[in-house]
């Protein structure tokens, strides 16, 4: 008794769906393989605010930085600048808005150096699009924070 199964239309449709799903999943990784071509060194500045001294103590030039939710590699810390954290305060007596320093809290500007692909008006570091105004949750070996990209030097 032979159990030769004929391939029906349903089987063909299922195979096509699986091929499409595999192609859809593999495509981002395949694009990443071409990453080493046409890369250019850029330095961009990331700002995190309302952090304490314990966070600043963890920062060191040369440490790697990653996107903490997607695990994309964002580059290496080149330099960082610490400023007092200031918040807006409405001075209703004078009718003005003032920036007042909050003691014990800081705003840190971190210069990150990375290899980027610049194509079609997009600056990509790993799979992360780098633009001023982009929100990023970051992590390093012993620190994590979140903030915005505020400057790009290329």
């Amino acid at each position: 008794m032979s159990f030769k199964k004929k391939v029906g239309i349903i089987d063909i449709l299922i195979v096509l769906i699986i091929i499409g799903a595999v192609f859809y999943l593999v495509k981002p990784f395949k694009e990443n393989v071409n990453f080493t071509k046409n890369t250019k060194k850029i330095t961009y500045t990331f700002e995190t605010i309302e952090v304490g001294e314990e966070f600043i103590d963890q920062l060191k030039a040369g440490k790697d930085v990653y996107n903490s939710s997607k695990n994309y590699y964002l580059g290496k810390i080149k330099n960082f600048t610490v400023n007092p954290y200031r918040e807006e305060f409405e001075n209703m007596e004078k009718g003005i808005i003032e920036l007042v320093e909050i003691p014990g809290l800081y705003s840190v500007l971190i210069d990150i150096e990375a290899d980027a692909v610049i194509e079609n008006d997009v600056i990509m570091v790993d799979r992360e699009e780098i633009r001023v105004g982009s929100y990023l949750p970051i992590k390093g070996k012993s620190f994590a924070s979140y903030g915005y990209i505020v400057a790009i030097e290329r």
Binding site: E90, M92, I97, D121, V132, I152
Partner: protein, 161 residues
């Protein structure tokens, strides 16, 4: 042995047909704008005025005349920056007398962008490049090579107005 179709087979066929129909409609909507000769003839160049309100100098420095602007919602090309004007930003504030005043927002600016767009005028709306809808007073998310920003559409005007 002849294989009979059962209800699972019919469900799979219907699902695949539905996916193909949805994809086909999406492709047809986009290509009918790009490929149709009639639609191409109806596109005219207009200046769209965008206001980026209350941003820091970092955002001002990240924009340049000539930058291409893309819609962050549709990912399609929107237009080209023709002019950038920067003004001090003011925000409403109530003083201790209960009067509403406009107070200078410290270290923040308003950026007025003039973006030259190819605009398609359809009965149901105005579309940049035939894809991204433009409505005065609506807020949209846009991006250039250097900046990701939200902006309010202030005006759609003829070139040179």
């Amino acid at each position: 042995m002849k294989r009979k179709f059962n209800w699972i087979d019919y469900c799979i066929i219907l699902f695949v047909l539905a996916v193909m129909v949805v994809l086909g409609l999406k492709i047809k909507n986009i290509s009918s704008v790009n490929l149709s000769g009639d639609n191409e003839m109806n596109k005219i160049k207009k200046d769209v005025i965008l206001l980026i309100h209350d941003v820091r100098k970092y955002s001002v420095d990240a924009l340049q005349v000539g930058d291409n602007v893309y819609s962050d919602d549709t990912n399609y090309y929107f237009g080209k920056i023709k002019k950038i004007e920067v003004e001090d930003s003011y925000v409403p504030l109530a003083n201790n007398k209960g009067e509403g005043i406009l107070a200078r927002s410290p270290e923040k600016y308003d950026i007025i962008l003039t973006v030259e767009c190819n605009v398609l005028d359809r009965p149901n709306g105005v579309f940049a490049e035939g894809i991204t809808e433009i409505k005065v007073n609506s807020t949209g998310k846009y991006k250039t090579i250097g900046l990701l920003f939200s902006a309010i559409t202030k005006n759609i005007q003829d070139i040179g107005e």
